[in-house]
């Protein structure tokens, strides 16, 4: 006898709410990737010049994927740094200042030591990462030792960073024109520039930290219930300090990629990273109250934000509508991709 209930049960299990929520960011991303070509197709169709949907789409092309990749990579790495902090239930808003300082430190040292990767100037890369880690560490100290909420501590450290970058540059911008360093953008493997692969490497590193190290698991423990984690013998302060230091390091890698993308380091290099990275983390389904989410969510979130930004221009949405549409799409994405039923209130 055939069990008639087996198949529906299987489908139900496949489509259980938890599973949908888990995959929602990816579904939102897929929907967007199919949505923009549809608008494009409709536009051409109305103009009496219909093309094959997707195949002839300008949006849905490898070259445009590379463009989205280029615009997404610095934000991805910065957002990964923020992800660790948000998983802990804290928040880090220092990214704009940190990115500016790291970009400027890198560029000045790089130019000072010869200005080409083929000399000792490459030392500017690790040095900039050390600078990022130090800013993150100070950020963590202020938060943990002075017991200032991470929101305020990191925001303030971010302002200090912006001021420091201004002090270092005196308001000028530093151009980094070394062709070897700029190969991050100009050299392409399989249609995608090198910087995209470097970002993938750091994504894997972050995933390793998140899932295969004690520190990564402790982030979740702290975010899921700090008192419980503390009672279980975890040194929560130390974990927070390490978390902020790690985030600062990722911010600096994001800064290096941002300089690689436009070849300029300046106080304004960090502009917009706060909005893009926090939005991306949340849209990706990492909950602001901690304990849920991870770096793959952040990847989806960053791609969602950048696909929206790119798609709006590609389908010809007037610029005065773009900010409003971005806001609405972000709210929609958050509604779809976070499980809000399990919590009783939102702060």
């Amino acid at each position: 006898m055939v069990d008639a209930t087996a198949k529906p049960a299987f489908v139900l299990r496949l489509l259980s709410r938890n599973r949908i929520v888990k995959w929602a960011p990816l579904l939102v991303l897929s929907a967007l990737v199919l949505f923009f070509p549809l608008i494009e197709w409709l536009e051409d169709f109305r103009a009496g010049d219909a093309h094959a949907y997707l195949i002839d789409s300008r949006f849905f092309s490898v070259r445009n994927a590379a463009r989205i990749g280029i615009s997404a990579t610095p934000a991805l790495i910065v957002a990964i740094g923020a992800t660790f902090i948000i998983i802990m239930g804290s928040i880090d808003l220092s990214m704009e200042g940190t990115v500016s300082v790291c970009a400027v430190v890198f560029a000045s040292v790089f130019i000072g030591l010869g200005g080409t990767m083929l000399s000792w100037a490459w030392l500017a890369l690790p040095l900039s990462m050390v600078a990022g880690a130090m800013i993150g560490f100070v950020n963590g100290l202020v938060h943990v030792k002075l017991k200032i909420p991470s929101f305020m501590a990191s925001l303030a450290i971010g302002f200090v960073g912006t001021g420091l970058a201004l002090l270092l540059t005196r308001g000028d911008r530093i151009r980094v024109e070394d062709p070897v360093f700029r190969a991050l953008l100009t050299e392409r493997w399989f249609n995608f520039p090198v910087m995209v692969y470097i970002a993938l490497v750091f994504l894997l590193v972050a995933w390793f930290i998140q899932s295969r190290t004690r520190l990564g698991r402790n982030f979740y423990a702290v975010g899921g219930g700090e008192e419980l984690a503390h009672a279980s013998g975890l040194n929560v302060e130390r974990i927070r300090l390490l978390g902020f230091t790690l985030a600062g390091t990722f911010f600096s890698v994001g800064a290096l990629l941002a300089v690689g993308r436009i070849g300029i380091a300046e106080t304004a290099t960090g502009n917009n990273f706060m909005f893009v990275s926090i939005t991306a983390v949340v849209v990706g389904g990492t909950a602001l109250w901690g304990g849920i989410g991870g770096v793959w969510n952040t990847l989806a979130g960053v791609l969602i934000v950048n696909v929206i930004n790119n798609g709006m221009v590609v389908v010809g949405l007037p610029d005065f509508l773009q900010d409003a549409v971005l806001g609405i799409l972000v709210i929609t994405a958050v509604v779809l991709s976070t499980d809000r039923k399990s919590i009783s209130f939102v702060k």
Partner: protein, 385 residues
């Protein structure tokens, strides 16, 4: 506001500030001196303000101040360096220049000015961009009420004029960007052979220079029917935003783009990098605006076809100089024609042919300006539409 109301309002503010400061002996002394001047004992320096308002003699050694957004932006950095150069020309250390930094807040701008006026009892020569146009009137009124001297740049409402304030509102300078932006557009179109699609990237949509620079582009297009403006979007003066918009433009329009019109240099840098990523640098010509040193280098290399220099260093210096020399009685603003009180700042077009010479003259060595030649480099009286 009609002329008749100005003195009454002045009187009120003057009385208010007098009450506030009445214990300050200095103020009282000044009023005694004013009285003496009015009786013909104070010399020619003192003159009546329009409508019989208060007047006083020239200041001696006024505090020189520049009020501006902040130094993050290379443009404002240049403006202020000009102010410092002027202060040094007086034999003072450049640290004598007082910086009032408003960080884009009109409220802070006004509050800082009032604080300075109170601290120095009006003994102030102020150069200022008031951040937005409506803020200009309260700033100017505050300075005039405490008998200081002020010169403004960029932001001012059309109904506000220096000559309505006697000597205390010395001058206003602004730059008209329509004409120069039209010239850069023509250079771009010629480079494109007079036909093809272009895209434009503008500044913050509500900013006056952004509006004027776009208008310049549209004006030039009237003479080039074969040029098609495919798209024009606001890149908010931001390199990274311009970079992303340009790469999206390439997706949407692809080979149709034959040229790019950028509202300033920082936008141009982002566009160049988007083109570089596609191997299109040098293939698609672009024009920019502002004449930053790095943009001039790119013009020399042929990466940018043209940019426009507005000489912010001179602008920053001369604005402070106007306020200072009016304050010290070197010249009498109310005796000058209107064209000397509201005028356009200089604009210099930079193309690959003259970039080398330009760099040598203006960038490699900062020219030693004659800070008493107030109007030589300017571009004539401001015209209201």
């Amino acid at each position: 506001m009609g002329d008749a109301k100005v003195p009454a309002r002045f009187e009120r503010e003057r009385v208010m500030s007098f009450i506030k400061n009445f214990i300050e002996q200095e103020t009282i002394n000044r009023r005694k001196f004013l009285l003496a001047s009015a009786m013909g004992l104070g010399g020619a320096a003192a003159a009546g303000v329009l409508g019989g308002g208060p007047a006083r003699a020239a200041l001696s050694d006024p505090t020189i101040a520049w009020s501006y957004r902040n130094r993050t932006n290379p443009y404002w950095n240049e403006i202020v360096s000009g102010g410092e150069a002027f202060v040094e020309s007086l034999g003072k250390p450049k640290s004598d220049l007082v910086h009032l930094i408003n960080d884009g807040s009109s409220e802070k701008s006004l509050a800082d000015v009032k604080t300075l006026l109170a601290k120095e009892s009006g003994n102030v020569a102020l150069a200022i961009d008031t951040n937005d146009a409506p803020n200009c009137r309260p700033v100017v009124e505050a300075v005039a009420a405490s008998m200081g001297y002020v010169s403004t740049i960029w932001n001012k409402t059309d109904d506000l004029h220096p000559w309505d304030f006697g000597d205390h509102y010395v001058s206003h300078m602004t730059w008209s960007d329509v004409g120069p932006a039209e010239q850069t557009a023509r250079i771009l179109f010629k480079k494109m052979g007079g036909k093809g699609g272009i895209v434009g990237l503008g500044g913050i949509a509500s900013n006056n220079p952004a509006i004027e620079r776009k208008q310049g582009l549209l004006n030039a297009m009237k003479d080039y029917p074969d040029i098609e403006l495919l798209d024009y979007q606001a890149a908010d003066w931001d390199t990274q935003k311009a970079n992303q918009i340009m790469s999206s433009f390439i997706t949407r329009y692809g080979d149709e783009i034959k040229g790019v019109h950028c509202a300033n240099d920082t936008i141009g840098y982002g566009v160049l990098e988007a083109l570089r990523a596609e191997g299109l640098q040098g293939v698609i010509p672009i024009v920019t605006y502002d004449g930053n040193p790095q943009a001039v280098d790119l013009v020399m290399k042929g990466d940018i076809e043209a940019t426009v220099f507005t000489n912010p260093h001179w602008g920053g210096g001369i604005t402070a100089a106007l306020a200072y020399y009016a304050a010290t009685g070197h010249f009498k603003p109310s005796a000058e024609p209107h064209a000397s009180r509201e005028f356009y700042g200089p604009t210099i077009l930079i193309t690959p042919e003259d970039a080398q010479a330009f760099r040598a003259e203006y960038i490699d060595s900062v020219p030693n300006y004659d800070w008493k030649d107030f109007w030589g480099p300017g571009n004539g009286q401001i015209v209201y539409k």
